[in-house]
Symmetry: C2
Subunit: 169 residues, 2 copies
DNA sequence: TAGCACTGCTTTGAACTCGAAGCAACACGT
DNA sequence: ACGTGTTGCTTCGAGTTCAAAGCAGTGCTA
C-alpha cells in the first residue's frame, strides 16, 4: 500500500472488465427476474422484495421506514407500493400503538400465499441466471468479494449530491 | 457433477449470500453513480451509457437498435432518450442512407465534451464504491466470475414471458 | 412485379420512481 | 405548559420506463 491513495482517474483493465460484467449481469438478471415475478404472481421486483422482507421479519410486520431500506430510495415510493399491496390484500397497514406517527405494515395471509407461490420460481430463475455457470468455489468467492464491497458501501454514508435540476421550460 | 441437473428449489447459503450481496451492491452502486452523473453533467445513467457507447463506436455513430442493446429494454425508451439528447445538442439523428427505415445517432461535439467532463468523476466514483475495498486479486476473480455469468446470460436467449398484466379498473 | 411478412422506429397510455412540500405526532428546551 | 425542531409518512408534480399499436421502408416469393 502506498502513502498516496488518491483515487485514480482510470481503471485497470481488470477493474474495467469487472465493472462491465457487473453492470451487464446486474441489468440482465434484474430484467429477467422482473419478468418471471410479473408472470408468476403479477409482482414487480420491488413488490417482491417488500413481501420477502416482511416474510423474513419476526411476526411478518415492519415499520414503513425499516421496510424501505435498500429497496426504494424515497419514502414516497414505498407509500405508493404499500398502497398497491394493501389494495390487493397482500398486506395490511395500521398505525403503530407505540408511535402514532409510524405505520406498521404486516404481511397478510394472501401475501404469504403469493410469496409462497412465487418463491420457487424466483429461486430457480436466479439459479439459472446467475449460478448455473459458476462452480461452488466461484460462488463462495463471489459471496466473499461482494460481501466486502457491500460492507464498505454500507459503512460509507451516501454523501449528499446536488439536488436534481429542473428542466427550464 | 451428477447426471440429474434439475434446477433446485432452494439456494445454498453461499449462493444466497452471493445473491444478497449482489443485489445490494448493484442497487447502491447504481444509485450513487446516478447521483454523481446527475450533479456532474445532468445526465441520467442511461444517458451516460448511451453517450459512452457512442464514444466507443468508430466514428461515434450507431444505429438506434445497436445503441439500445443492454441499456434499455424497449425501443420506445431509446426513442425518448435520443430525443432528449438531441434536444440538448449532445447527439444528432439522421436517417441512414443505406436503409431509409433506420436512424443513425451520432455523437455531437457538445456530447463528446459532456462525456469528457463527466468521465473522470464517474471512474472515481466507481473506484470508490466498488473497488476501493477489494484487492487486485479479488478484482481479477470478480472479473473472471462475472464474465462467466455474463457469457451464459448472453448465450441464453431470454425466454418470452407472459405479457404484463393490466390492472382491472 | 405484386403481394405479404418483417424490420426499425415512433406514438401512445399506463405504471412506477423520485424530490419537494405538507401534515400530524413526538421530543426536547425553557 | 409551550414553543421549536425533528421524525414518519403522505400528497403532489415532473420525469422515466415499458408494452402495444401504428407506420414506413425493405426483402422474399411466386
Amino acid at each position: 500500500m502506498g502513502f498516496m491513495t488518491e483515487p485514480p482517474t482510470s481503471l485497470t483493465p481488470a477493474q474495467l472488465g469487472a465493472y462491465f460484467a457487473f453492470t451487464e449481469v446486474s441489468s440482465l438478471v434484474r430484467h429477467s427476474v422482473e419478468k418471471q415475478l410479473r408472470s408468476a404472481g403479477d409482482l414487480s421486483y420491488v413488490q417482491f422484495q417488500l413481501l420477502a422482507r416482511l416474510g423474513d421479519a419476526p411476526d411478518g410486520r415492519l415499520r414503513m421506514t425499516d421496510l424501505a431500506d435498500g429497496v426504494v430510495y424515497s419514502r414516497s415510493g414505498l407509500t405508493y407500493q404499500a398502497q398497491l399491496l394493501e389494495q390487493r390484500g397482500l398486506v395490511t397497514r395500521a398505525p403503530s400503538p407505540d408511535d402514532e406517527r409510524s405505520t406498521v405494515v404486516a404481511l397478510a395471509d394472501a401475501g404469504r400465499a403469493v410469496l409462497a407461490a412465487v418463491f420457487p420460481g424466483h429461486i430457480e430463475a436466479v439459479h439459472e441466471l446467475l449460478f448455473a455457470a459458476l462452480s461452488d468455489r466461484d460462488v463462495g468467492e463471489l459471496a466473499r468479494i461482494l460481501g466486502q464491497a457491500a460492507d464498505r458501501l454500507r459503512a460509507t454514508p451516501p454523501r449528499s449530491a446536488a439536488p436534481r435540476q429542473r428542466k427550464t421550460p
